[in-house]
Symmetry: C2
Subunit: 573 residues, 2 copies
């Protein structure tokens, strides 16, 4: 079932979405954007659409199938955007039988609306009291009204201010807004439509139905077995969270430090997962926390400050890096505070951290100065002119300050793996339809972790094939509602992938092969790439910033040396 | 003769530029950029090149052949950029036998360099005293040292601050810096290379030599006759300057007013050419002023303030519009002051005016408030955070403030003709390789002025052919060193065009036909488009901002309704 919400007249309609049959998650959100949004629509204008969609397995109770996709034309990149998020919302929407909510138009009135969805339907309601609140307060206010069992996705002031780095924050299973649909500025699209929050109440729902429940259960078991067997998903992630990667990447010489000027951070251990877990334990927080129903990887955590008050959660490697090593900062409490501020104002912590690093490169503040970085975050929150520059992301900040070392692709900040020392992910940054995005084809697996084979991260050979295969597979995984981290297990354990295929088939009564599902992944990339091309972003844009090709990265003294012609072969399928 | 200057080691070399034989002006600058600048070079980095080139007829004394071209990868648009400028420099470089000066690399030292060129050669000299000066002071200081007969091109603080709207200001025949290579931020490229000024002394030179001097003179006479006959070049422009267009465009409903929200300005007459000429006359300024040697059109002027002090010159329609109607300002003295400030800080007055309009749309200041606009210009000059936003141009300003009505194409501000009511120029904005640029294919001729035929400006029919033909012809004219305004005459008087062909042939001993020269124009566009494509700017980017297609423009209630597929036919040649 699809809901369409026209904000111009606050009308809600319902349909079966026949033309989108067989699609879920990213396959669905990207198809809707490609079909329904004109390529030159202004991302903050009436003709952009914001879509919230569930995956093929949402609401089924499959292991780690709690994720959902938001889609729109991105105000940050101008590309199609799928922003994938965990937390409680995906499952609730799935149980409510919702495949997609498509929000169109712009409202006349300057107020705050919420979209409230339950078994009774979807309702657009005005809640002006929410205007100007940040995310933690917004959630608290909504929970006062609707209770703590609802799932909430909402924007902070960054989204209301239409900052193109604005995210949409989602509540986890305890109702804390620690999960973000972070990338691509979809919070600004939501802000342009004056939608402050979406609130889902699934009380009264049952588990979704299956074409073949027994087969589904069998498939689910296979995936669960794989997840509970593989050392990454069963040991490293629950114990240390994604932040376990800090020391690994620094050791590998691929941890971008001080705005990508070196690949190893002397303070890595101070901010890495081992230290993080120890601090959490000491202060009575929680590691091994599940962010969404059915999650058996449990890479999230609850981080408390020195006084024992909860400061932040979902404290990822990416944030520890972007607000830490990238800024030359090794104080975990300061980084945690900045993560909280990003989550509260409602900005992507990757984009914001990278942006502050670019501002530091411009001399706006000094590398290593936590307090200055915190102050810059508050500038962004207050939407001062300087804050607005930062809120517009790394590429704009670089342009405004005349900086040359600006780590972005297609306008989006490059995440926590230096493409010179982790070349497979460099190929992904350059070529994905999303702008720089590690999750789109996470070659760190074979480059660094020895998962799914081994490809030397420092050499150009094999990276294009690696990235292509992962990008295709990822586009499928992102369409299921499964957490991408299942990939760690299924790349090594064939049974896990079989389980996914079997679950999808059993859910809908399909008889598809893995090849069919990979074809779905390819079609996602074609849909997305077609949109981007129409929007003016041509093949030439599949490239990294110049400095990666000219400035050698210590300690390995490597440049990104995969020729442009090779990069173009990613789309040879 | 070509000079190459490597700023990394301050070395100067000289060569004959064999591979660039037969090329001048834009054909030459764009070819050099396309051949020698890597497509993903950072515009402010060591691998961008800044080229100063003369045209095929520079230094010949041909009528109105005083213009020259600057080229680089643009930091504003990311495209190849040819920025064309009048004043005294082109002729002096031509007489010095210089076809091009190619500046490469970045210097180590933070200082101010000048490039000094004379019959003795080209010298890179350090003049730290120039650092931090604006353009009028820079020129004064250089004239103290080198006398008033040299030609000077220099940047102000905007260029030093690497603001991507920075221009390069050039002196006119009286040594006043009233001419700008305005568009595309080449002042920032010059600033990145720490070149504060280029100073040319042509004393001791003779007129360039000719393969057939008599034939050249005959051709020159034909062009001169056309220019002195056609009413636009012989009457309207010398009497009123380009500002004569304000009332014409407002009357036609195509004068973009208050950030392109209407097409007619109630204050048009207060800022139009007729009023301008009257004020100049009353205060003892000058109309009918030639900006460059050999100019017989004389559209420039010297504008004095109420006290009789010279305030500005080269006070164009574009500036009167961008700083006037576009901002809802009808006070000519305020506009003149803003024009002076743009010329002095060294920013493109089109980009800056449009940017302030976008900021006004965002609520940063009120439309019609001159003092606020002047204050914003000073913010830019002081490089405050707000000033840096503005200095980064209209597109960035729109993105930073979340504005939807942002009149730019490929990152460059749209000039003074609303594409909804002057559709031929709309086609040019959308499709030119330069980002929005009226001069690239000035369809205003047939759309509004009845020059070179007549094509209804409000209808879609015929606009693509009109724009294509003009873009090709313009690429040739821009390669000769001729002022584009000769086009007004030659579009109606065939003899004028014959004269140009004959002069080019007689200069070099060629035997080319007009078709050969138009082929040169086509090749320019191919070179430029090839570069842009490699730089990631695909065919899809040949499009106007969405609002031109969705918001009807009063008084004619027209939208831009030329389908994207039709726009793509511009390059069917």
């Amino acid at each position: 079932m699809f809901y369409r919400v026209d904000m111009a007249n606050l009308a809600v309609t319902k349909d079966e979405g026949v033309k989108y049959q067989g699609l879920g998650g990213r396959a669905l959100s990207s198809r809707i954007v490609a079909e329904e949004v004109t390529a030159n629509a202004h991302p903050l204008g009436e003709n952009n659409k914001l879509v919230f969609v569930t995956g093929l397995l949402s609401g089924t109770g499959a292991p780690n199938a709690g994720r959902m996709s938001l889609g729109a034309k991105s105000p940050l990149t101008g590309t199609v955007k799928e922003s994938n998020v965990g937390g409680a919302m995906g499952t609730k929407l799935g149980r409510l039988g919702i495949r997609g909510i498509i929000v169109e138009g712009l409202p006349q009135k300057d107020t705050a609306y919420i979209l409230r969805v339950s078994t009774e339907g979807l309702f657009v309601e005005e809640m002006p009291a929410l205007q100007g609140l940040n995310i933690y307060d917004t959630v608290a206010k909504l929970q006062e009204v609707f209770g703590t069992k609802v799932a909430i996705g909402c924007i902070g002031t960054a989204g209301e201010n239409k900052m193109v780095s604005a995210c949409v924050g989602f509540t986890d299973m305890e109702g804390a807004p620690t999960r973000q649909a972070g990338r691509g500025g979809l919070g600004a699209v939501m802000g342009s439509k004056k939608i402050k929050a979406i609130v889902a109440d699934d009380s009264g729902t049952k588990m979704v139905s299956f074409a073949d429940e027994a087969a589904f259960r069998a498939g689910a078991k296979k995936l669960a077995n794989a997840l509970l067997t593989h050392p990454v998903t069963s040991q490293a992630l629950p114990a240390y969270g994604t932040d376990v990667l800090v020391n690994i990447l620094s050791e590998a010489g691929g941890l971008p430090t001080r705005n990508f000027s070196t690949g190893r951070f002397e303070g890595a251990n101070d901010i890495g997962g081992e230290t993080l877990a120890a601090v959490i334990k000491e202060r009575g927080g929680k590691t091994g926390h599940s962010c969404s129903p059915g999650c058996i990887i449990r890479c999230s955590q609850i981080y408390k400050d020195k006084k024992g008050e909860v400061l932040t959660g979902g404290f990822e490697y990416e944030s520890c890096w972007s607000l830490g090593a990238h800024l030359g900062i090794n104080n975990l409490d300061d980084i945690a505070l900045m993560n909280r501020l990003c989550d509260d104002y409602g900005v992507d912590s990757i984009e914001m951290g990278v942006t502050i690093g670019v501002a530091m490169e411009a001399g706006v503040a000094k590398f290593g100065d936590s307090q200055a970085a915190i102050n810059l975050l508050h500038e962004m929150g207050k939407a001062t002119p300087l804050g607005r520059i930062l809120g517009a992301g790394a590429e704009v900040t670089g342009k405004v300050f005349g900086v040359r070392r600006v780590p972005t692709v297609k306008g989006q900040a490059i995440p926590a793996y230096d493409p010179r020392a982790v070349k497979g992910v460099g190929v992904t940054y350059a070529t994905t339809t999303m702008g720089a995005d590690h999750t789109a084809g996470y070659s760190v697996t074979a480059n660094i972790l020895g998962v799914g084979g081994k490809v030397d991260p420092l050499k150009p050979e094999g990276q294009v094939d690696l990235s292509r295969n992962l990008q295709i597979a990822t586009a499928f995984i992102d369409s299921t509602g499964l957490c991408l981290f299942v990939a760690f297990a299924i790349l090594d354990i064939a049974e896990g992938l079989e389980g996914i295929v079997e679950m999808c088939n059993a859910r809908f009564g399909w008889n598809k092969t893995i090849e069919d599902y990979l074809e779905m992944g390819k079609q996602v990339l074609r849909d997305e790439r077609g949109f981007n091309k129409s929007a003016g972003i041509g093949d030439g844009a599949d490239e990294l910033p110049e400095f990666f090709r000219t400035e050698p990265l210590s300690p390995h003294d490597v440049i990104f040396d995969i020729p442009k012609e090779e990069l173009d072969k990613v789309y040879n399928f």
